[in-house]
């Protein structure tokens, strides 16, 4: 079994007002070296297959078809060996 860890973020061309609000909070804490805060989503899922290539393929398809909307979001992911607890 494999576990996919997926990160979905707004595309660079999309204004991220939530990230901007958090950035203002960070600045008011005094961390003035922090810039360009972006908020995204983190998704974890188990993929029940013994084949890594298949796990990667499934993850990619799920991202393209549901987890990210290509008009506004980009995604990246890692696939790791995973033993059921």
């Amino acid at each position: 079994m494999y576990q996919s860890k997926i990160v979905v973020t707004f595309r660079r061309s999309i204004l991220d007002p939530q990230g901007k609000a958090v950035e203002n909070g960070i600045h008011s804490l005094g961390f003035d070296k922090v810039r360009d805060v972006r908020i995204g989503k983190f998704i974890e899922m188990d993929v029940y297959t013994a084949n890594r290539t298949e796990a990667e393929q499934i993850t990619k398809e799920v991202c393209e078809k549901l987890l990210a909307n290509p008009i506004m979001e980009d995604f990246s992911f890692t696939v790791e060996n995973h033993k059921h607890p």
Binding site: S13, L66, N69, I71, M72
Partner: protein, 241 residues
């Protein structure tokens, strides 16, 4: 449809829809047409002339607004109906579902203010030649309420040009005089876009709620012009064909 009979409105109900009863009331009681609810798990729309995807928070807006609802069983038949030229009206969450389903271009982002906005706004009719606006004039200002947290319409700039060239932008947020400005934009929508139609003109998505501005008892009836337009256009279409 027999032109002497009433139009059949099918209102799709998703888990989390909350304007379905308003749409049913406006089309059934105010417009005096046939209105019926269609549960999202049904596989077929049945015999309908107009499909309404109502406002609300389908699936709790999980992941993205409309992202899960577009995979509801009924959506396959909604897509088939739309591709065959059937009239589909998506209001608020219904608009979001139509963009997620690929029936309308663009996407609706979180409001630029990050606030949920619930108030009457003015929209200018940009294209009165659609079957949803035939009873309006180009440039007419309608006062219709909005109630959403994610109504910030976004589309790539080359696609925006195509929308404009094809006259697919049907409504723009404006002030009481019809002037388009940043001040009259309640959610940061690109080009003040409040509603768009597909290239074939039979699928409309809009953030304002026409069904909430249809009953004279509530003080505003501008939304009724949109619903009346659909009825008039479809009845006319039937008479002509």
């Amino acid at each position: 449809m027999n032109h002497s009979s009433r139009l059949k409105f099918g209102i799709v109900v998703f888990p989390g829809s909350n304007c379905d009863h308003d749409a049913h009331y406006a089309t059934g009681k105010i417009l005096q047409q046939d209105a019926r609810f269609i549960w999202h798990k049904e596989g077929s729309l049945g015999d309908v002339d107009v499909v309404i995807l109502p406002g609300g928070f389908s699936y709790g807006d999980y992941l993205r607004c409309g992202a899960i609802a577009r995979f509801s069983p009924i959506m396959k038949d909604v897509v088939r109906f739309a591709k065959a030229g059937g009239a589909v009206l998506g209001i608020c969450n219904g608009f979001q579902i139509l963009t997620e389903a690929g029936l309308l271009p663009g996407v609706l982002l979180r409001n630029a203010s990050l606030q949920f906005v619930c108030k009457y706004v003015c929209v200018r009719v940009e294209n009165a030649e659609t079957r949803f606006t035939s009873k309006c004039r180009n440039g007419e200002v309608l006062e219709i309420p909005i109630a959403h947290g994610d109504g910030n319409y976004f589309i790539e700039s080359d696609e925006l040009k195509r929308l404009e060239d094809n006259r697919q932008i049907v409504f723009r947020y404006c002030d009481g005089e019809g002037k388009i400005s940043k001040a009259s934009n309640p959610n940061g929508a690109m080009s003040n876009i409040a509603g768009v139609v597909n290239t074939t003109g039979n699928v409309l998505g809009m953030m304002p709620h026409p069904e909430r501005a249809s009953d004279p008892a509530l003080g505003h009836t501008d939304g009724r012009k949109i619903l009346d337009s659909v009825v008039e256009s479809l009845v006319l279409q039937t008479v002509l064909t």
